[in-house]
Symmetry: C2
Subunit: 489 residues, 2 copies
């Protein structure tokens, strides 16, 4: 850009080049349906296309953009494609993108209030806004007592920080050598992030108890099983301290019964965390709010605005009732960060609510999503995806070669191709092959899971550009590839 | 934006609105010197300016931008201001900003290779590039055996993941109940992130040994002290397992002697981590590379490209020699993420090298910084800041009311106002008051530390817009406020 006397933040260079980048990105979205949804490159493809060291002299932006087009985009799996139905969605939106731009533009590091008061205060306010849209109990809001929300990077970090808060709360009572006795409960459908949090926090692996679920509860955790596990563990001298329930599991959107689980947790002095990373978004609609009934029993609640809420990655909203539990576990107070406002305890310093020290101005994008779209539009957005999932469910049900495996609750349909002649030995390979076949077309991208030993295909509606025609076309791909597979048997 | 039938990712809406945002951000940089560097708002200022719930109906972008101007920017501490000299810098640049835009535009979640092969592969390649610029030993590069680099969010996460890898490596040998015996070593100048990592990982607080430093070593860790501490601990049955050395401490840019520390670590089977979060950037210049001599003894090495290397926050580069140690500690393998490439172990899945599952396409911005600027410009950029710091050091030295407290090594000057009549009782309050006074002017922002009981002012050059005239003006502010303070005594 400049060969002599680098001016790395000249405002006119920024203007000129960023306008170019805007057009590049807008053109990407214009042409996004031309790319294979799942990248079809082979491992190691990029190393052959790029030099093996950084240049000594500057290159032009055009050079770089040409390389993005020719070398990077073929290796991208297009999460924003309207034909992306894998895992869970990771929404981009104009508002979310603008918020990311502004955050990157200001580029401050808001670890303490003083390092940018607006960043901390906007985060508190916007999480109160979102908490109200979700009708969270008031003690999760920052305006009431010791509660409040915080933006974590991911649901993994959210469950980790509350697990640590809960661990240290009990270790302060029992002494640190009690660590080996601490027990965590969740269903076997719980996200692997919980096990990872246990590994990190030093919970003994055999004390991370993932209770079995099956189709009789639609893969929800049974309160009876939980009660029994807790009393068994107490009787052998273990110390139950943490329960993670999920609203909308990753495999099949199972919904754990919060109210009865929460009462068990409370009776046993157990920290109760609710992971609604995916399905939390739906709860801004009155007709879906019932799925988090019982959240008033929880100590912490998490939903990912970066999944299905139009807020670019990363933005995982975590609310707690007792911020001090987080702070006692995660605070540091080095001399070089001391300042009047913090010492006087007049402010929130979010560094003490999270793993990292530094943090981006992520509330901007959530604020912009809420303001530029408004609640009613956001509700329509959710309902539209759920309707599209219902539509897909109907298509599957109408083709006798397939079955819908678990009842659809939100915008995920779990289904599979039935093995010919009810030969279940063949069913898993068949669906594995079908998954491979449809994803290899590049026309759609779906993913899978296993439930009760059966290999299941997951069709998750939720990309911001998805319309009915994309669902129709996806079903056609599935039918065609199924016909080809079944024909070749 | 649309009241009916929300189209949240329409490419033409994106284009139109993002062009407006570019101009808003470019105008911000054009006017950045008009803002107080340190925000002067009072705690709670923003809640009075914003409604207490999200709107039902959409608002216009212009409304939001007006609010950013009127309500948010007054609460921002302007890290990109040319008169920002606090903490350490957090560089923005045109290239870094463009990379952030592109990453937010593509908005993929690259936890596994398959979810966007380009994201994983570009990260490996670009960290090899940067590793070569730093002349890291080959076994840190991804092309050689089991090493490789990974982008973490922050240096806190970097030290945490390697601490966990080291912890679990030793616990696999000794059994998990050995946790209470594990000992970590570092100097008392080490970043508080290490203590936080120990808290998280369940290392007993009394086993996190921060060895005393003083001015006799310019606050570097003494190898003799370390040797003695290790043998004392071994003799009482403890298990030394982790050493963190720092190149460029946060207080005063102290440089721990890597070579001799590393040999002690190796002789004792201790994981040796080098934190060069700030000063690592300088090591791309041949004349500063000597400060990381001995890095060949390290197991892991970290530098923050988001500090002084023009890459927007967050981008913390971590290299390890043994990627399997990370993976064994941090991997999860749930069914819903299984895929051919991962199962065949043909690829790197960065989810297993970090705390979170999801991850942004952060290598794009580092790639763009390296390509759009090139090595020679980047070296000039570093040297220019170091020269400005030398210039400031000279100004301080020429005013007999002040003293430079520790020898300047990189671009940080540690100095203080001498207490009149050598009355040291008064020295700390005096400098505390001077800090408050200069920061309250809004003209500059500096921060402080304490060394050997003395309150010290830190002047860290490193913002991308800083020129000689800003350093001159900053010194004038310091002199004026010092005169006022001394006159009022």
């Amino acid at each position: 850009m400049e060969s002599k006397g680098l001016q790395p933040m000249d405002s006119e260079q920024l203007r000129e080049n960023a306008h170019k980048m805007v057009d590049f990105i807008a053109d990407y979205y214009k042409s996004i349906e031309n790319f294979p949804v799942l990248s079809q490159v082979e491992p190691g493809y990029l190393r052959e296309l790029l030099p093996d060291s950084a240049p000594n002299q500057p290159e032009t932006l055009q050079n770089v953009l040409d390389d993005v087009q020719a070398k990077i985009l073929p290796g991208v799996t297009h999460w924003q494609s309207p034909s992306y139905f894998a895992y869970y969605p990771s929404n981009s939106s104009v508002a979310g993108f603008l918020g990311e731009m502004l955050s990157a533009g200001i580029n401050m590091v808001g670890f303490s209030w003083i390092t940018s008061p607006a960043a901390t205060e906007l985060e508190m306010i916007v999480l109160d806004w979102l908490g109200k849209l979700l009708k969270l109990p008031e003690d999760f809001l920052s305006t009431a007592g010791q509660g409040g929300g915080v933006i974590q990077g991911t649901a993994s970090e959210a469950v980790l920080v509350v697990l640590l808060a809960a661990r240290d709360r009990v270790l302060r009572k029992l002494g640190k050598n009690a660590l080996e006795k601490l027990v965590v409960y969740a269903s076997d459908q719980t996200h692997s992030a919980l096990q990872k949090a246990c590994q990190i926090g030093g919970i003994h692996p055999e004390n991370c108890k993932l209770l079995k679920t099956d189709s009789s509860t639609n893969y929800a955790l049974s309160p009876n099983l939980l009660s029994k596990a807790i009393s068994d563990d107490i009787s052998t001298g273990l110390v139950p301290f943490f329960l993670c329930a999920t609203v909308g599991t990753t495999s099949s959107t199972a919904v754990d019964p919060l109210l009865s689980l929460g009462k068990i947790a409370k009776n046993n002095g157990i920290w109760f965390h609710v992971d609604a990373a995916y399905a939390g978004s739906a709860c801004i609609c009155p007709e879906y709010r019932c799925y988090i009934d019982g959240v008033e029993e929880a100590d912490s609640f998490n939903m990912n605005a970066h999944k299905w809420f139009l807020t670019n990655f990363d933005c995982s909203a975590l609310w707690v009732k007792d911020r001090n539990a987080l702070i006692q576990s995660l605070s540091t107070n080095p001399e070089f960060l001391k300042n009047k406002a913090s010492q006087a305890k007049m402010v929130v310093d979010y560094k003490d609510w999270q793993i990292p020290l530094g943090r981006r101005f992520r509330s901007l994008k959530l604020w912009m999503v809420l303001r530029l779209y408004g609640l009613e539009n956001l509700q329509c957005y959710i309902r539209n995806h759920i309707n599209l999932a219902k539509y897909f469910e109907g298509l599957v049900a109408a083709d006798s070669r397939f079955e819908v495996v678990t009842p659809r609750v939100f915008s995920l349909v779990c289904f599979r191709l039935l093995p010919p002649n009810n030969n279940e030995d063949h069913g898993n390979n068949l669906n594995h092959d079908l998954l491979d076949a449809v994803n290899s077309t590049g026309k759609i991208f779906i993913s899978h899971t296993v439930l009760s030993g059966k290999y299941i295909l997951r069709f998750a509606v939720g990309a911001p550009l998805t319309e009915e025609r994309h669902v129709t076309a996806a079903w056609k791909v599935l039918q065609d590839e199924a016909s080809a597979l079944l024909g070749s048997l």
